[in-house]
């Protein structure tokens, strides 16, 4: 089901806050754009970015570990347990695929031997 927005075709408003916002945005972008472009390629920004990521990731890790131990305490499987199960299924699928490859190779070899 696709949303069908109506475009406010060629509309202009006597009092137009959108136009004002656009002007403010364009000015801010024009003034800050080149500076931001320079800033993001600096070592300082890269270091800061890394530290922010590290802080977020460490929080995520603690949250995940706490959820897992709480679930295990209540004898419920945690995400990690389901993931391990999923990995086993994938390994099984790969084994079947390898058998398929071998059968295909054998068929090709037999076809060549019998001139088929």
């Amino acid at each position: 089901m696709q949303n069908t927005p109506q475009t406010t075709a060629n509309k202009s408003f006597a009092i137009d806050p959108f136009r004002l916002l656009r002007k403010v945005y364009d000015t801010v972008e024009q003034v800050t754009g080149p500076a931001i472009e320079k800033l993001i390629t600096t070592d300082r920004f890269a270091r800061l970015n890394g530290k922010v990521m590290e802080a977020i990731l460490r929080t995520q890790r603690v949250t995940r570990e706490n959820v897992t131990s709480t679930l295990h305490l209540m004898n419920f499987p945690a995400r990690e347990d389901i993931v391990r199960l999923g990995e086993l299924v994938l390994q099984l699928e790969e084994k079947i695929d390898k058998l398929g490859d071998r059968i295909e190779a054998l068929e090709q070899r037999n076809g060549k031997l019998t001139g088929g």
Partner: protein, 368 residues
């Protein structure tokens, strides 16, 4: 009678108030605002991937699609598209009139596409070696078998790097032509991404140990940081402006907005390899990349190569995408510089008149 008269007068006063200009203006502004909100929110359900297709092979979450044709293919060489690992595959078949797949079909090619699907935590051990051996190799064999001959491999962004590695490792004559779209190969000067992912500042091990599948939001935030204002507030400011124009293609905007915000998770094994061996160590260009026990040497690539690069690509800047021409052994090789950005050149307005016909003509000349 008196009450009716009063009600009548009240009604006419209200009518006048309703027509009072500031109220009308206010309602029009409100309507305009709601159009903006509905356009953005409606993009989640935007219709994408219009070309009919069938699944001819599947493994794990990956699907190999063959796009259905109404008439038999007139070209001998089918095209297999290898997609980026962090994006949805429908970008090459976005909408009617904005579908590279449909264009290639119209040029007489059979078109196949390897869609990686939606990776999850159980895929954490997948790395690019595994993708090459267990996914790409089988998909290529399947397409070549159906076509009865070698194929054209078309890789987009990271998918292009995967296609390049595969072509360098497989010299069995399965790949007739290699087409790369905005594919980073040399990471010596990789722009802001290269700076942010330096080993001394980027917490790669922590990221991949916390997330077995790195959420699509992480690379997405990175892309948005490249142009923070235009990629955040700016896109809505521009949308508001465009919505005033009755010729504006609302559905096209919604489809694109949906794709940009519809990233998929990156298996941590692949992510570690992509950032560690490609971005940080630049092993592919240095000839030090080993996959499945074999060195990936770009000089092993001898098939015709078309390298498409975008002039204003901030995600894969020119130094990263242009280097491959000097590293392969192909005698038939060309670089096509298209005006635009990383995604815009493939599905933007000019794609149908600029990029697609040029790629079509290049493929046609190498179909014999």
């Amino acid at each position: 009678m008196e009450t009716e008269g009063r009600l009548g007068r009240l009604s006419s006063v209200l009518e006048k108030v309703a027509h009072y200009s500031p109220i009308n203006q206010g309602l029009s502004l409100l309507e305009h605002w709601l159009d903006l909100v509905n356009t953005v929110q409606g993009s989640r359900e935007a219709s994408v991937g219009p070309t009919p297709k069938e699944v001819i092979w599947r493994k794990n979450k990956a699907r190999l699609y063959r796009y259905e044709r109404t008439t038999p293919a007139t070209r001998k060489t089918p095209v297999l598209c290898i997609m980026p690992l962090i994006n949805r595959a429908y970008i090459l078949d976005l909408r009617p009139g904005a579908s590279f797949v449909a264009y290639l079909q119209s040029q007489g090619h059979d078109v196949y596409l390897l869609d990686w699907g939606d990776w999850n935590d159980e895929d954490r051990s997948l790395n690019i070696d595994v993708l090459l051996e267990q996914y790409v190799a089988r998909a290529v064999r399947m397409v070549a078998k159906q076509a009865g001959g070698p194929i054209t491999m078309l890789g987009y962004c990271i998918g292009g790097a995967v296609a390049t590695c595969f072509t360098a490792l497989h010299e069995e004559g399965l790949i007739k032509n290699l087409v790369l779209l905005t594919t980073p190969i040399d990471f010596q000067d990789a722009g802001p991404f290269g700076v942010w992912t330096r080993p001394s500042v980027f917490p790669l091990e922590l990221l991949t140990s916390v997330f077995p599948a790195v959420p699509g939001a992480y690379p997405d935030v990175g892309s948005k940081l490249l142009q923070p204002l235009p990629a955040s507030v700016g896109q809505f400011v521009r949308l508001e402006e465009k919505l005033r124009d009755e010729r504006f293609d609302v559905y096209g905007w919604q489809a694109m907005f949906r794709w940009v915000n519809d990233g998929v998770s990156f298996p941590s094994g692949c992510y570690r390899q992509w950032i560690g061996e490609f971005y940080q160590s630049n092993k592919l260009v240095r000839g030090q990349l080993v996959m499945n026990g074999r060195k990936v040497l770009l000089s092993n690539i001898r098939c015709p190569l078309l390298n498409v690069v975008a002039s204003n690509d901030v995600i894969a800047p020119r130094p990263t995408t242009s280097a491959i021409l000097g590293l392969v052994s192909s005698t038939d090789k060309a670089e096509l510089v298209v005006k635009g950005g990383h995604v815009g050149i493939v599905v933007g307005k000019a794609a149908a008149t600029d990029l697609w016909p040029k790629v079509g003509a290049w493929l046609a000349a190498r179909d014999a």
